[in-house]
């Protein structure tokens, strides 16, 4: 191996996914003149926001070695709860936001309790929550969309100048999470619990508390996503968010987080969400038939991850 290929390998090591993303971006901008325009890139930013927020949240849970399948339903529940408080002239806009986020956090904390105190595997605990929160969302909303929301509330789904507010929320959340994970002791403990729970306990770490934090924060972020979604679609939709959990987990895993815990970064998660967003956007732009779109999407995602995981090997 020559020196140079060593450098390339090193670069590829940290940037395999980024390179895949750039390659896809370049290909798309050749294939369609509309791709590389400011409005379209802002569209991509807007479109990945909700998935991105969920993905950042579930990164925390995946890092501890758990999983959260309830995201999509919690989004719906938070959305209808917030929307129910967001009719014009009812409460200040902070109330629906806070209640939506609180509803999410409550679901997350319940997940955490089931996992830590109840010793129920996170897959089952959050699957139960997925079903139950969907039911709750339907009960709360009596099965129908909650509409007629105040403009102050729906503005949250809009833009400031050119910049979409949901994208700004995502950036903020990602930055905070980045700081938590890489600068704070709490973040270090999240990695430790996921990397080796037994060792973490033996090191005097309160494993249960760390897990509680991860699930609760993840739930709260799902609440944020639910509020943002309700603002964007100007309705609290009890059937919203079906399948969002899988999209979010996919973004996280594409971004290099291990499903068995202990490995992963927020940066990777954002890259993963971007990759999926750009693929969706590009395929829609290029008018690929939706059947072939599915095939192409599957192939590209596997290809990008393959590239990323085998970078610098051989």
């Amino acid at each position: 191996m020559t020196k140079e290929s060593g450098i390339v390998a090193t670069l590829m090591k940290s940037w395999g996914l980024a390179i895949a993303l750039v390659a896809i971006g370049v290909a798309l901008s050749f294939a369609h003149p509309g791709f590389l325009t400011v409005p379209n890139l802002l569209n991509v930013a807007r479109q990945i926001s909700i998935n991105g927020i969920l993905a950042v949240g579930v990164t925390l849970v995946l890092l501890t070695g758990g999983v959260d399948l309830s995201l999509g339903s919690v989004v719906a529940l938070a959305g209808v709860v917030a929307a129910g408080m967001a009719h014009p002239g009812q409460y200040p806009v902070a109330v629906p936001i806070a209640l939506g986020v609180a509803a999410g956090a409550l679901c997350g904390a319940t997940n955490g309790l089931m996992v830590t105190c109840g010793r129920v595997p996170s897959f089952i605990a959050t699957l139960g929550m997925m079903t139950a929160a969907r039911g709750l969302a339907l009960v709360v909303s009596k099965g129908r969309p909650v509409s007629n929301l105040s403009p102050e509330f729906t503005r949250l789904g809009g833009d400031v100048g050119m910049v979409p507010i949901p994208a700004m929320v995502l950036v903020g959340i990602a930055l905070v999470t980045f700081v938590v994970l890489s600068k704070l002791r709490l973040g270090r403990y999240l990695y430790a619990v996921g990397g080796n729970a037994e060792a973490a306990r033996a090191s005097g770490i309160n494993v249960g508390a760390i897990q509680m934090f991860a699930y609760t924060a993840c739930g709260a972020l799902a609440g944020v996503a639910g509020v943002v979604l309700a603002a964007r679609i100007t309705t609290g939709q009890p059937n919203a968010g079906v399948g969002y959990e899988l999209d979010a987990i996919a973004a996280v895993v594409i971004g290099g987080t291990s499903l068995s815990g202990g490995v992963g970064t927020v940066g990777g998660t954002i890259l993963g969400a971007l990759l999926v967003g750009v693929i969706n956007n590009g395929l829609d732009l290029m008018n690929v038939s939706s059947y072939y779109q599915a095939i192409v999407k599957g192939v590209i995602i596997v290809g990008a991850v393959w590239l990323d995981r085998n970078r610098g090997k051989s």
Binding site: A192, N196, A199, A202, S203, G204, I205, G262
Partner: protein, 492 residues
């Protein structure tokens, strides 16, 4: 008994799923002393220490610390009280850095609560590691370290707590003499500061070098506590085993034709140009310091991490060993140094682990499998609740016995043993040594890697010494000394 012990355990009992591991054990530990805990594999030493360390809750009994009764419910509580522990099982965070591992649970922070001070932690790690004379880059990921290096990290991690009691559960199983000596210097320093050290080891020489008091346990019971100076080795062994130790008949080797010829084996960065010949009926020992690359060579021969350059010939024929399956086909078996990673499937039973590498038929004959398992359990006196007990619940030494038995069940012509007696008690060790000699006598070729020089000297017919990935000497164990070996092993 003792006027005012720092730590008093009274009538501590503990059982697992109905099996008694400890019964009414008592122990007094004084500040500024080294208290050795001795006993056969499965005697309950680790269980007792885990109770002290807050990992297990006792079923009955009481613990007094500085005269006050304590009820600590987690390692967190224990650490807060000032009880730190080096665990027998390595507990690394493989994907975190060495510094993060060392600082885990007591991170340096600055600016505001919870903000990590990475620089300080790296500096601390460097300082602590150098005290043990082991220069490991604090930014390396644990995953890249060998077992011995991980063990030093674990030691350093426990030392870093400003504890008044430090429990060391077999801290030196993978270490070579140099690191052991450094550790002992540190322990003496700790004594001076009034720290109480509880030290568990199966290495007799270590015990007599460092211990002030010795407590012997057998089958979960307290047997005796004596000042170390008043206890002779024979007596100690009798207390542990309950009978006189078997003496190994020194059997002179009778080497035959070469069966394993290794020429110019190289794996860049790990070892370089390793060549040797192993004969039928011969025991070839390999000595060297930690990180010398012995494990890497063994792993290469077994196909776990194949060498990139060089030739391996088995019984005269060149073989390509790209995986352990190839090695087993060529009649090579390995007793791994890293049993947790390569040796055992933790949640599988003793029986299933034993047979895993030697299942020859498509259908499993359960009755035969059980018979073999019972046979091995008897032969190696593996202390288990039964052949169906998951290996993860076995004591460390008993797990090691399973690993050895498992390798032998493949009926290899060439057996590579990497630190085979790691954590094995004196009695069993003697038996394993005589087993190795017997195997050699029946014509098997054996390669033994060990960091215990006495073991190497007494066991091998011929001795290789490695240093920094290269073979530096071939010695005759009958005409060499520990000093000579060290001179070839020490880095220049």
């Amino acid at each position: 008994m003792l006027p005012n012990p720092l730590l008093q355990l009274r009538n501590v009992s503990k059982s697992f799923a109905g099996v008694k591991a400890l019964e009414e054990v008592r122990l007094d530990v004084e500040a500024g002393r080294v208290h050795a805990l001795m006993g056969e594999n499965g005697a309950g030493k680790s269980t007792l220490m885990k109770i002290l360390g807050g990992l297990h809750q006792p079923d009955a009994g009481e613990i007094r610390f500085k005269g006050r009764r304590i009820h600590h419910r987690s390692p967190h509580d224990a650490l807060r009280l000032g009880i730190a522990m080096i665990h027998q099982e390595l507990l690394p965070f493989r994907d975190l850095s060495v510094a993060a591992n060392i600082g885990m649970g007591r991170e340096a922070t600055r600016w505001f609560p919870g903000w990590l001070d990475h620089g300080a932690m790296n500096r601390e790690a460097t300082t602590l590691l150098s005290r043990l004379g082991v220069p490991i880059e604090p930014t390396r990921r644990m995953r890249e370290l060998g077992v011995a290096e991980m063990q030093t990290v674990e030691i350093v991690k426990a030392l870093a707590h400003e504890a008044s009691v430090i429990i060391m559960d077999e801290p030196t199983t993978a270490l070579s003499e140099r690191e052991v000596a450094a550790l002992f210097d540190v322990i003496r320093e700790l004594k001076q500061r009034g720290v109480a050290v509880i030290y568990i080891s199966h290495k007799m020489d270590e015990i007599f070098r460092i211990a002030d008091t010795i407590t012997v346990m057998r089958d979960g019971h307290h047997v005796a506590t004596r000042p170390a100076a008043e206890l002779a080795e024979r007596e100690l062994i009798r207390l542990m085993v309950g009978r006189d130790p078997a003496q190994r008949a020194a059997v002179p080797g009778n080497p035959g034709a070469p069966v394993l010829e290794v020429r110019g084996l190289t794996l860049p960065g790990r070892f370089h140009d390793v060549s040797f010949t192993l004969r039928r009926g011969e025991i070839l020992g390999v000595g060297g310091l930690m990180g010398a690359g012995r494990t890497e060579v063994a792993n290469a021969l077994y196909g776990l991490a194949p060498a990139t350059v060089g030739e391996i010939r088995v019984a005269g024929k060149t073989v390509r060993i790209a995986s352990p399956a190839d090695a087993l086909k060529a009649g090579i078996a390995l007793v791994t140094e890293d049993r947790k990673r390569f040796g055992l499937v933790p949640r599988m039973s003793v029986q299933q682990n034993l047979s895993l590498a030697s299942m020859r038929t498509r259908w499993i004959d359960r009755r035969a499998e059980a018979a073999v398992a019972d046979d091995q359990i008897r032969k190696f006196s593996i202390k288990a609740a039964g052949r169906d007990q998951p290996v993860v619940n076995l004591s460390g030494g008993n797990q090691q016995k399973v690993v050895i038995a498992k390798a032998l069940l493949t009926e290899p012509e060439i057996l590579i043993l990497d630190e085979p007696t790691r954590g094995i008690d004196v009695g069993a060790k003697a038996e394993i040594h005589s087993l190795i000699s017997r195997l050699a006598r029946t014509g098997k070729a054996i390669l033994v890697i060990s960091s215990e020089l006495p073991e190497l000297l007494s066991l091998s017919d011929r001795l290789l010494v490695m240093r920094e990935g290269e073979v530096t000497a071939e010695l005759d164990p009958l005409h060499t000394s520990q000093e000579e070996i060290m001179s070839f092993a020490m880095p220049l």
